[in-house]
């Protein structure tokens, strides 16, 4: 990570998707996926509701040139496409603006079964949200078709002792 201790932020407009008569705003981050000597510029959906990140099979096979027979089944996951066997691969993700640039090694889940790809490649919470704070500012302007999301590197300066107790679940004694 570069410039991690400075007050830096990256601002991106939401990507509008026209679905029927509605405009859906999605936080799509332009990135470069890097694996071995391959660089693949694409866009990842920042998904705060996803535990982990996930790539589609075509990106892994056709863009990153990874042989599926070399992937090891490492459990199952369930999402909106149902339950599927998955493998994991580590991919370097680069993104930035102006003279600010970050690279992170991100473990991605790969769905191994047909028809189980997410509609879009996803950047989930673990580990990305441990390293960056993301503000979703859909009401940034009065125009509901606009808005921005902002990415800040976390500084990790607060004491963890204040937060180490697990939250009490309502009704628990």
């Amino acid at each position: 990570m570069r410039k991690g201790d400075l007050l830096v932020s990256l601002s991106y407009a939401f990507t509008p998707y026209e679905v029927g008569k509605k405009i859906i705003l999605r936080p799509m981050l332009p990135v470069i996926l890097m694996k071995n000597d391959i660089s693949f510029p694409t866009m990842l959906l920042i998904d705060s509701g996803a535990d982990y990140s996930m790539l589609t099979k075509d990106i892994v096979r056709d863009a990153l040139n990874i042989d599926f027979s070399s992937l090891k089944k490492e459990g199952k996951t369930s999402g909106i496409t149902g339950e599927t066997e998955i493998a994991w691969i580590n991919v370097k993700v680069g993104f930035g603006q102006r003279d600010i640039y970050f690279e992170e090694d991100i473990p991605f889940q790969i769905p191994l079964e047909e028809g189980k790809d997410p509609p879009l490649p996803i950047l989930g919470r673990d580990p990305f949200f441990y390293k960056y704070r993301i503000d979703f500012r859909m009401g940034y302007t009065k125009d509901s078709s606009l808005g921005k999301f902002v990415i800040y590197p976390e500084k990790h300066k607060r004491s963890p002792t204040r937060y180490k107790k697990p939250m009490k679940i309502k009704g628990e004694r």
Partner: protein, 71 residues
């Protein structure tokens, strides 16, 4: 990372925000210097088309989703 490359990707991303991509629904597109340089239902074929163009810079690849609100 080449700064120019990152800036090119960001510039093409910003250009994409202003485009109506409904005709590419369900397809992969490759964007470079504010132009769609290749398109296909298959990412593999889109990459092959881009390779045949012998471009100096790798374009930004994007899948235009079809019809689904949920992710």
């Amino acid at each position: 990372m080449d700064k120019t490359k990152q800036e090119q990707i960001n510039s093409d991303y910003e250009w994409l925000l202003m485009q109506n991509l409904s005709e590419y629904s369900g397809e992969w597109i490759a964007v470079l210097e504010r132009k769609i340089v290749a398109r296909d239902k298959s990412l593999k074929k889109t990459i092959e088309k881009v390779k045949s163009l012998r471009l100096k810079t790798t374009p930004l690849f994007l899948k235009v989703p079809e019809g689904s609100i949920t992710t």
